[in-house]
Symmetry: C2
Subunit: 258 residues, 2 copies
């Protein structure tokens, strides 16, 4: 069948099946293949690579139009990808795209991100995978810049592929579309979220805590980092390695520790 | 105050505050300093680096004896560490230990693991951090081997420290204590969980899915991997880098992609 020769593109996110960023990402990849979307039924930000095995999950068929099939799943972003691969698609997808996330996943946010959880799960399964994010949490954010340039990045990955075990963490600044200076392939900036918990008292006089926090960039002047790129009107592209081993440390520890 | 000069050791896990593995880990580190435990109030396996910011979290004082203070938290393992650092301890802990997890966190399981989520969060905050796991999911597993050798590893880390940005993922095989051949500092084996969802029909005639799965080791004969070490009666020690950037790929992509 001719249609089977078109690339199969799996789409997910962590903001949920109704997010504006997801709708924009579907439009970006729709010209390039058959699209299957499996996204969380509600927002699952900050879910990282979490999986559900203590509770069963549900899959719901949402809608189908032209070359797009959309499902929602009650689980995490990684559950969405696993369920898509095992129960929804009939063959292995050629590409996975995740996002476009409402909010930055640059620097250390990659470890908390459900958007990147989905991309990493695709990568683990041998699928060239990209997570896209913009630096605005607004539900109604303007995705025109992100749409234009995520299309260019996706086309490049379609053409060249990605190395085995590597996925991309792409972030876009919030600037006018003609202010973007280009892409920077860069490293994850070193930094940490400094959490300030907002402690409150409930009507029963018991304490509870809301997690808030501010990002603390340890190296704001380092021009080879994603944070620098984004602050200087570039889109940042960080290649993420799913092998977390520190090879340098293996050698040091063999000599000095054990 | 003299007591402030003793090391402060933060303990967490993902199996919950009542897990046998946690009790064993407290006993391992108790001789070495003042112990603060903040662990999930119920089992939070597979939570990876997830954080709670859509719902508030609770902190409960469980008990205090000798040099040990135990709290539970309603959130994820990473929430436990964040809440501990911001609301419980009066100074930055000198060490963080997480576990001892009931079940392997070797190879790619590191990305799903709440035990390692807690250790990575400690590492992000500049605290030398170790996650410990045994290769048995049994609630009543025998921790005598893990206790003996996690003490040795902890003592070595107390003596030598850990490089900035590196934490340890330690796994112990399930063998008799005198069968252990030693430690192997090694790399994360390449592999993937092949998920087989168990599809069921609920009483209302709707489908639901349980996540199950089998680990698929892509390189069972590679002697420098954690899986090989564990299968050959060694404890595995993988140094984990919290910088997920693939530096090799940056160079390749600069030349060939963008």
């Amino acid at each position: 069948m001719k249609t089977n020769k078109r690339p199969l593109i799996l789409v997910s996110n962590d903001d949920g099946v109704n997010a504006k960023g997801l709708k924009n990402l579907i439009e970006v990849v729709k010209p390039f293949g058959d699209i299957v979307v499996v996204a969380p039924e509600s927002a699952k930000s900050g879910m990282s690579h979490a999986i559900s095995f203590k509770n069963p999950i549900r899959l719901n068929r949402i809608k189908e139009y032209e070359n797009v099939k959309i499902y929602s799943c009650s689980g995490t972003p990684v559950d969405c990808v696993k369920l898509a691969l095992n129960q929804v698609v009939e063959r292995k997808p050629d590409f996975l795209v995740s996002g476009i996330n409402h909010g930055s996943n640059a620097s250390i946010s990659v470890v908390y991100s459900g958007t990147m959880g989905a991309a990493i799960e695709g990568c683990l399964n041998g699928i060239p995978s990209i997570g896209f994010s913009i630096l605005s949490h607004s539900l109604d954010a303007d995705f025109s810049l992100a749409r234009k340039y995520s299309k260019k990045i996706f086309e490049k990955v379609m053409e060249k592929g990605l190395p085995q075990g590597i996925c991309l963490n792409v972030n876009f600044p919030i600037i006018d579309i003609d202010e973007l200076k280009g892409f920077k392939v860069c490293r994850q900036a070193r930094g940490v979220w400094k959490e300030e918990f907002d402690k409150r008292i409930d009507p029963n006089n018991r304490d509870y805590y809301w997690l808030t926090g501010n990002f603390n960039n340890f190296e704001p002047d380092a021009e080879d980092t994603d944070e620098w790129a984004l602050n200087n009107n570039y889109a940042s592209i960080v290649p993420i390695d799913i092998d977390y081993t520190s090879y340098d440390t293996i050698e040091k520890m063999k000599e000095n520790y054990f």
